[in-house]
Amino acid sequence: MSSATPPTGTGALAKREARLAWTLLAPTIISVSLVVILPLLAIIWISFKPFTLSDLRPPAPVVRESLRGSGDDLRIEYRLRNSSQEIAIQGVTLSDVLPDGVTAGEVAAPCVLDGQDLFCDFGALEGGQRERIRIPIEVDGDPDAFEELVEESEPDVTGSGPSVLTNFEFSLENFARVFDGDEFWGVLGVTLFYTVFGTIGALVMGLFAALLLNKSFKGQGFIRGLYLFPYVAPVIAVAFTWVTLFDPFSGSANALLVQMGLSSEPINFFGERPLALIMVTVFEIWRYFPLSFLFILARMQSIDSSMYEAADMDGASPFQKFWLLSIPQLLGILSVLFLLRFIWTFNKFDDIFLLTGGNAGTRTLTVNVYEQAFAVSNIGAGAAVAVVILMCLIAFSFVFFKFISREEGL
């Protein structure tokens, strides 16, 4: 009798299961990598290229067709130009079909006429070069009617210039520009201030709010819902409300401060240098304290109440119970929240962009991506900033996974 041995390797069933798993995951993997992985690679690629907003439209030949002259001297004119002033376009051709009823005369050099089909081969078009083709014609009937007919039929032009995106020339110019001068360190400092204080503030406020609601009373659900409002409302709505509220001319907050005698004249909350940064940080705290509040409350309600009963028996005072029981129990969720919120605040773009547009010393790294790419219209430099952000995130996520695998067993 042969002794029974446990099966080794992967069996047929396990293989089938793995295959099914990958089939189910395939659509997600494909779509996510198309929209996440591919753009990430693209942005690294672009960051090494001198790529500006205007390069989004590669140089191309532009043509205009018109019917000119009158009587015997009737002619069709094609005016062709290179849309770019610097870059040459290769393989420029033009083809068009002359409308019926039009008889063309003699056709000059780069063009040939085959029946009603016109074909011109220009070869290369230098930067800023213009070409003009005149074709004398005769028409049967009213020239005015033909004018429309001629101008309606769009000629086909081919020809393409080199795109900056696809060639293999790389430069570190973008990074040099990004790291150049004090600006970068200023931006980094602002980002760190915003991230650190925004995160800590939201955590502390969340903890405070959770302590308030960690008991059951009538209307607890309602108040919990109310305190989530800042997070649930669309960011544009609350950001514009804050801007309106703190407006130096028609803002209620300023009117209130002046009336209460706390300030003699209106304060430009989102327009002055250190104040604007503090205000956007306060906004961040205001908008995201509900999130930490929700998490901390959920953790608090799962703490075993018998511990508190035991503490009561031992005569522990409320503060002692908070410091010696609640805080150690909450430390895990607090640190996970801190890490997550830190990364998310670091990534935040919408809030600052809507509140100040990155002015008055509130430009963080993410806002800088937008500023470089669209305000200065240098997409390459924007991409370089984005790569810097990615580097920071990779560093954060190392810490995060090291930590979270210990905390949550992920």
Binding site: A21, T28, V35, V36, L38, L228, T241, Q259, T366
Partner: protein, 402 residues
């Protein structure tokens, strides 16, 4: 410190400042007239009240009622905790006096309870401090949450001149009738907001649908099957969470410009689900893990295929989770601003958030902007309040994402 005659006045003084400020701010926002809390006088009045409240520990002792009434009346003289401006209506005056007296008595009695005059035990002292902090916390959080939304709604009902004249005056003239809502009618009539509302709605619904279509099978596979790379996959979902949208938006903008997908709803519908699939996947796999496998195994034994098990057993069991995920994804799609802002330029294709951004210009009056903000906020709030239980669950499960 732990003496009744010290704790009482200190808490009373601080509490008086809180109450005076709250009432002054509330009355200012309600009437637009001048109300000013007087910090120094409030401290003195509060300390006196606190002393009286610990000296006479009965809940509604006549001395307690007397000092509170005195507090309220003192507001009429200019030496009270709240200074009332001269141009105030009689009604507002009366409301202020009564509310100062009443609120102060009720809340101070609740905070100090029957605190003895002399030595306090550690418990008595800490409980009183905690009751003070709780009261302060409720007032503080409610104020910071409500004030911006109150300003948003009220500003949308006012006219530009009224706003500039007195930014504090939010009193609404109800006799105008429907004319009160003129900002809204103008938005819907002249700015095409009806169409934006509809675009936002169906884009969000499509996003929810596509997200579920992709993430349900994916989450099931991650939760139930053992295969190589499962752990790496779970981690990479979390990693994708962490990539900032602006970094992705830049190449997406370029790609969409080159392919002509920019400025089309199709492009938006293609891109929104991909930003929400990782969140949904993460939330759902957590829920699927919690479902008992025995039910599914029973189904398998009875001859159902895996896909049939998912369709007939797992999905009906996870309806609450699906509702939470749908709501959460709907919220993300509805509130999404950055992609809509970058990818849509054509006013006929705007989503609501993009439409509101358009209103933020110096030529368009503020109340229009605020009315737009209200229009964007109300549907999501209604959904939130109606389905608060699901929403809170969804938020807790998925809001690793900011």
């Amino acid at each position: 410190m732990r003496k009744g005659y010290i704790t009482g006045p200190v808490l009373g003084a601080l509490w008086m400042v809180v109450i005076a400020t709250t009432i002054a701010v509330t009355m200012s926002f309600a009437t637009g007239a001048a109300f000013r809390p007087q910090v120094l006088l409030s401290l003195i009045w509060g300390a006196v009240a606190g002393l009286v409240y610990v000296r006479f520990p009965a809940r509604h002792a006549p001395a307690r009622l007397g000092v509170s009434a005195l507090l309220g009346l003192s507001c009429l003289t200019g030496f009270g905790p709240v200074l009332i401006g001269s141009d105030t209506t009689l009604l507002a005056l009366l409301v202020t006096v009564i509310s100062v007296a009443l609120v102060m008595h009720v809340s101070l009695a609740a905070i100090l309870k029957e605190l003895p005059f002399g030595e306090l035990t550690r418990h008595e002292y800490e409980d009183a401090v905690i009751r003070f902090c709780t009261g302060f916390g409720y007032i503080f959080f409610t104020a910071i949450v409500i004030i911006p939304f109150y300003v948003m709604v009220m500003t949308s009902l006012k006219s530009q001149q009224a706003l500039l004249q007195n930014p504090l005056d939010f009193s609404v003239d109800l006799s105008q009738g429907w004319a009160l809502l003129r900002s809204y009618t103008e938005l819907f009539r002249d700015f095409n907001f009806g169409s934006y509302l509809w675009t936002s709605f169906y884009v969000s619904c499509l996003t929810v649908f596509i997200t579920l279509l992709f993430s349900v099978p994916g989450a099931y596979a991650v939760a139930r099957f053992r295969f190589q790379g499962q752990k790496a996959f779970s981690r990479s979902i979390l990693l994708i969470y962490m990539v900032p949208m602006i970094v992705l938006a830049l190449p997406i903008y370029i790609a969409f410009s080159l392919t002509g997908l920019r400025n089309s709803i199709l492009g938006i519908v293609m891109i929104y689900p991909v930003t929400t699939i990782p969140v949904a996947l993460y939330m759902l796999q957590g829920y699927f893990r919690g479902l008992p496998t025995e039910v599914e195994e029973a189904g398998l034994m009875d001859g159902l295929s895996r896909l049939a098990v998912i369709w007939k057993i797992t999905l009906p069991l996870s309806l609450p989770a699906l509702a939470s995920v749908s709501l959460y994804v709907f919220m993300i799609a509805w509130n999404e601003f950055l992609l809509a802002f970058m990818l849509l330029d054509d006013p006929s294709k705007f989503t609501l958030t993009r439409g509101v951004t358009m209103l933020n210009s110096s030529e368009i009056p503020r109340q229009h902007l605020m009315a737009g903000a209200v229009i964007a906020t109300v549907p999501i709030m209604a959904l939130f309040l109606g389905l608060e239980r699901f929403m809170t669950k969804g938020l807790t499960a998925g809001s690793v994402k900011g």
